[in-house]
Amino acid sequence: MLEIDNLHAKVAEDDTEILRGLSLKVGPGEVHAIMGPNGSGKSTLSYILAGKEDYDVTDGSITYKGEDLLEMEPDERAAAGVFLAFQYPIEIPGVGTMTFLKTAMNAQRRARGEPELTTPDFMRQVRELAGALNITPDMLKRPLNVGFSGGEKKRNEILQMALLAPSLCVMDETDSGLDIDALRIVADGVNRMRSPERSIIVITHYQRLLEYIVPDHVHVMSRGRIVKSGGRELALELEENGYAEYVEAA
């Protein structure tokens, strides 16, 4: 599904190197957790996967479904099935949530050569998914994320993920700012999406989320590269001992 090889990247504006030889392989149906201290480059990795222009890749490669991901525009990546759930979903005043969802969905369908959804079909789908995520019709009427609480924004991200049905979900600190009830709703939403064709990368600072979204693989990231990989137990070990030894090791 995804193969990252020796990825080096820096901030375009000031040349600060963030990723320094990161490698990662994610197979279909797998759930990978990437953990690491603040500043280790986790969010940068998610932005680079989604194609943000603020970073320059200086070395290495990212292959997604056999294609060079770095050659694709952000919207092409989305249409090809890459979804990033943002740590801080942006507010867009004046753009209705429904309008946004439909625009995004049909744009992707168009790009894939599929027919556009009719409005009634689209509405039906949204309502079904929204109900399960405890998203009210009132929220859907508001402009995208405007006036949403932190938890509402995160649920809105999961709604979009469910609706757009991507092949690769990258979830950047989706648990941050969520109370335990909201966390459970979000995790249930993600678990419903687990399938043999879909891969998920969960980026998190804390082990807590991984109790609800149980990963197949856990990686520790420090100073721009993966410094240790293991199974579920690695997360527990981190919980116990913290990141100190990895920061020093890196």
Partner: protein
């Protein structure tokens, strides 16, 4: 800024043409004397230009390359065809007063349901009788003078409307101004609208005409808003792409009235929409808003002047512009607070998006304040579409161009949604989407 003194000069081509056109007018006209005075007053100063402070950014000497003769009347069939373009408010059940090529056309108009509340007469009838009531041009300031003077010289018709005291209009009333035909011509209208005390009305205006015809529109509207009246005043300027549009609204607002004008501008090669609002009575308020979409090589100017001459009035100005290609947008807004106008509140915001390398926006928000117990302020921003928002949309699969258009629409909609009339909001948002080639809203 800081222009020097004016020098003597030769007439521009457009001024020469105006002089010829004026000379060709019938001299047995009942109001010819009045026309001559107005035209002489115009020729004394000529077309306004960049050294005239209020026309600094809209230099008509440079922008008006010619002046077409007064338009000939359109055939009934041509008029009806042209009217079909005036569909911006088509979704709203409204009464209509229609002017084509500067003439009132009763056959195309419809005032059903308003007979009780609205008196209407065509301004042309007053002119024919020599009894037109016009505001003296010599009292106008330099911002209004040229448009007003040209209007006085060439006016052919207009709507004289009286809305009865206390009337609540059963449906909105639209004044439609249409240009028909393939020959360039000038249409000049003077409307006089008086809204009685305590009346409530939605008054719509639309301006349309064919593309690729260099016709000119000059429309001046005197408006009186009675005590405690509530009026929404929405203007949609969608003239043809070669047109020159000069619009001037002169509202006077009496005590405790609520007057909310909106200026939507997307048409014309060169357009200036100006509102000069005067508060005549205490406790009145005005929310003046607008949205402009300029593309190609359009030059679209919105000028708002609000005079707080009496205490305790509130004005809010909120203006948005999206400028693309090589177009140029201009916003001038001035809040005047005179000595006795204590407890005035005035807030003005102008925001512009530049969508291309060659787009240009000039912004001049002014405060002129002579009373101390006031709260006034203005803000102005100019910039590009927010990069973060664009990235978010693209990461969800929306292609760049579509994402940009959506964001431009959202930007303009913020002003449109202040209109507080669902039908009008829907009509103007639909229009904005059409101008931006966007799919319809999902609600």
């Amino acid at each position: 800024m800081m222009a020097g003194a004016e020098r003597t000069r030769t007439r521009t081509r457009a001024e020469e043409a105006l002089a010829r056109n004026f000379a060709a007018l019938a001299s047995d006209d009942a109001v010819h004397e009045m026309r001559s005075q107005a035209f002489d007053a115009f020729m004394e100063k000529g077309l306004p230009h960049r050294r005239v402070e209020d026309w600094k950014y809209t230099d008509l000497r440079a922008l008006m390359s010619d002046a077409p003769p007064p338009a000939s009347p359109a055939s009934p069939q041509a008029a009806e065809e042209a009217l079909a373009r005036a569909d911006v408010f088509a979704g709203i059940d409204r009464a209509r007063i229609v002017f084509v090529n500067g003439q009132f056309l009763p056959a195309l108009s419809d005032l059903k349901g308003l007979e009780e509340d609205v008196e209407f007469a065509s301004f042309g009838r007053f002119l024919a009788g020599g009894g037109a009531l016009l505001v003296a041009t010599d009292q106008a300031d330099e911002a209004e003078a040229p448009v007003l003077a040209l209007n006085g010289a060439f006016v052919t018709d207009g709507a004289v409307l009286r809305i009865r005291e206390g009337a609540k209009l059963a449906r909105p009333l639209e004044i439609v101004t249409v240009y028909a035909g393939a020959e360039p011509g000038l249409q000049t209208l003077r409307h006089q609208v008086s809204v009685g005390d305590g009346a409530e009305a939605v008054i719509l205006q639309s301006y349309v005409g064919p593309d690729d015809v260099a016709y000119h529109t000059n429309a001046v509207t005197d408006v009186r808003i009675g005590k405690g009246a509530k009026v929404k005043w929405v203007k949609a300027q969608e003239e043809g792409n070669k047109a020159v549009h000069l619009g001037l609204d002169l509202p006077r607002v009496d005590a405790d009235a609520v007057f909310d004008p909106f200026l939507f501008a997307a048409g014309s090669a060169v357009a200036r929409a100006e509102i000069r609002l005067i508060f005549d009575g205490e406790g009145a308020s005005a929310g003046i808003r607008g949205a402009t979409i300029a593309r190609g090589r359009q030059h679209l100017d919105t000028t708002l002047i609000v005079d707080h001459a009496v205490p305790e009035c509130t004005s809010q100005e909120f203006f948005k512009a999206a400028i693309d290609d090589e177009a140029k947008g201009v916003f001038q807004g001035r809040i005047n607070v005179w000595r006795d106008a204590q407890k005035t509140e005035g807030k003005m915001m102008s925001q512009a998006l530049l969508l291309s390398e060659s787009a240009e926006f000039d912004n001049k928000p002014e405060l002129e304040i002579f009373a101390d117990d006031v709260v006034c302020g203005h803000g102005a921003t100019c910039g590009q579409i927010d990069e973060e928002m664009l990235f978010f949309m693209r990461s969800r699969g929306v292609p760049m161009e579509e994402a940009e258009r959506l964001l431009v629409h959202a930007f303009l909609a913020e002003a449109i949604e202040e209109i507080a009339d669902e039908d009008v909001i829907e009509a103007l948002e639909a229009r904005t989407r059409r101008w931006l080639s966007l799919a319809s809203e999902v609600r």
